[in-house]
């Protein structure tokens, strides 16, 4: 499986949704179900942690000299 820390919020979020659905289908072997569950919990925590630590970044593009008001 992918390294968790490498996942962006969007990737982790959509993987989490897929993981939940996969587990809810209920057709996984027991060991696989447990692994899927653990992965899902880690994804959810990763998403929450990304939100907790996020700070809005604002940059300004360099404009032509006329773009001053």
């Amino acid at each position: 499986m992918t390294e968790l820390s490498e996942l962006s919020f969007e990737e982790a979020y959509s993987q989490l949704e897929r993981t939940v659905q996969r587990l809810e289908q209920g057709d996984l072997a027991l060991q696989q179900a447990i692994e899927t569950y653990e992965w899902g919990v880690r994804l959810a925590r990763h998403c929450a942690a990304l939100l907790d630590t996020a700070e809005l970044q604002v940059e300004e593009l360099l404009a032509g000299p006329a773009a001053v008001d």
Binding site: F9, G26, A33, Y37, A44, A48, L50, L51, E60, L61
Partner: protein, 414 residues
């Protein structure tokens, strides 16, 4: 007059005061939606301009006239010096001037009619672009669900920028914002807006572009009715969201944008999801994971139980136990039937003994009877006729015998 007053008072129909009726009329006129945004065209007459900076005039046609006033706050921006007899196009709202009992148009825009008619220009451009299909819903692109980089086109000093950044900070701090600054008002604004949009669109990392500006007069917002701006939005590779002016303001930019928001803040709210909702959803996912795993474990446990029961039924121990029980059972039944048969035999023997005893003469002898035999031949004496006096007889009682001799005989029983 007193009687008239008393009469109306008696019926509860109290007369208005002049002020109260004027207040009522003012309320009616000034809250009417149609009268709050009025485009009015007419000939200027009775024009007065005073040192205060306010401008007073009437607008008239062949049959009617309406008083107009333009306060200094609006009049100072006038780029046109109106004269009596000019045809003018004005925008404003109807209000009541109580001291004279007059209604009037409070004008915020005044320009020569015909030439430079902004409204007509606006409608012409709108109709032309619409005919080109640039407003079609099918052209509009969906917004990315989780934009990482948001491009913002607005003025660096704009209150709209602060509003947008506040919303993004609160709702979706994961975003990165690229500000592409430009003038948003004045002659140079359209060209700068176009350049600012293109600068963002030239990059590869921008997911969505917000074009925003706070509220203002129709002239203030005019750059957003520019055809060049509209075409730059259309040509943009990324979805463009506009938030220009207030809710009631519609610009050409709004029509061609992929999404039009009523205000800059609303534009920011439209492009990102609220982290409160996201966190809520994360918690829900967590819950669902727990629930799904619990169900899966329950199912495994039930299957295991069933297997165990099945195995138990197949176990040799069980069969041995069953066999042992059967042996015990048979043994018990055998012993029971043996005892039964012995008891039966025993009672049978006892019965026969009893019957034997009942038939034995010895028992009769015990009760006091005796057996008498003739001494000479041992025959039993049953009758008097068998003996004569002098015969010798043997008498047997239960515990022995003795001999007797017959003396007399009587042939009658006692």
């Amino acid at each position: 007059m007193d009687t008239e007053l008393n009469r109306t008072a008696a019926t509860g129909d109290k007369p208005w005061t002049v002020s109260s009726l004027t207040r009522y009329i003012t309320g009616v006129l000034e809250t009417d939606r149609a009268l709050r945004h009025v485009w009015l065209q007419g000939e200027i007459s009775n024009l007065r301009q005073y040192g205060s900076g306010h401008v007073y005039f009437d607008l008239k046609d062949s049959q009617a006239a309406i008083h107009c006033v333009m306060w200094r706050s609006s009049a100072q921006w006038l780029q046109w010096q109106p004269r009596n007899g000019d045809m003018a196009l004005t925008h404003g709202r109807i209000s009541v001037y109580a001291p004279q009992g007059a209604y009037q148009l409070v004008v915020d825009q005044l320009r020569p009619a015909g030439v430079g008619d902004l409204h007509a220009q606006f409608e012409a451009l709108r109709d032309r672009l619409k005919a080109e299909g640039l407003f079609d819903a099918g052209r509009k692109r969906p917004l990315p669900p989780f934009p990482r980089v948001l491009g913002i086109v607005t003025s660096r000093q704009a209150a709209a920028l602060r509003d947008v950044l506040n919303v993004l900070h609160r709702r979706y701090p994961l975003a990165r914002v690229l500000l592409s600054p430009c003038l948003v008002q004045g002659d140079q604004a359209p060209a700068q807006i176009v350049a600012a949009i293109r600068r963002l669109d030239a990059r590869d990392d921008v997911d969505v572009i917000l074009l925003v500006r706070g509220g203002g007069s129709i002239e203030d917002l005019w750059a957003f009715n520019d055809e060049g701006v509209a075409r730059a939005i259309v040509a943009c590779r990324r979805p463009v969201v506009t938030g220009v002016g207030h809710e009631t303001d519609f610009t050409i930019a709004d029509f061609v944008a992929d999404v039009r928001a009523p205000t800059p803040s609303a534009a920011a709210e439209l492009v990102v999801r609220d982290q409160a909702d996201l966190r809520h959803h994360l918690a829900a996912c967590d819950q669902r994971l727990q629930e799904a795993l619990r169900r899966r474990l329950d199912r495994a446990r039930h299957a295991l139980d069933a297997e165990e029961r099945h195995l138990h039924r197949q176990s040799p121990t069980t069969r041995i136990e069953t066999a042992r029980q059967q042996v015990d059972d048979l043994t018990r039944r055998m012993a029971q039937s043996l005892a039964h048969s012995v008891a039966l035999q025993r009672s049978h023997v006892a019965g026969m003994q009893a019957r034997l005893a009942a038939l034995s003469p010895l028992a009769t002898l015990e009760r006091g009877y005796a057996i008498v035999r003739r001494h000479d031949d041992g025959s039993l004496v049953r009758s008097v006729a068998q003996v004569t006096a002098g015969d010798r007889l043997a008498v047997q009682v239960h515990d022995g015998t003795f001999d007797v001799q017959v003396e007399t005989k009587n042939d009658r029983t006692l």
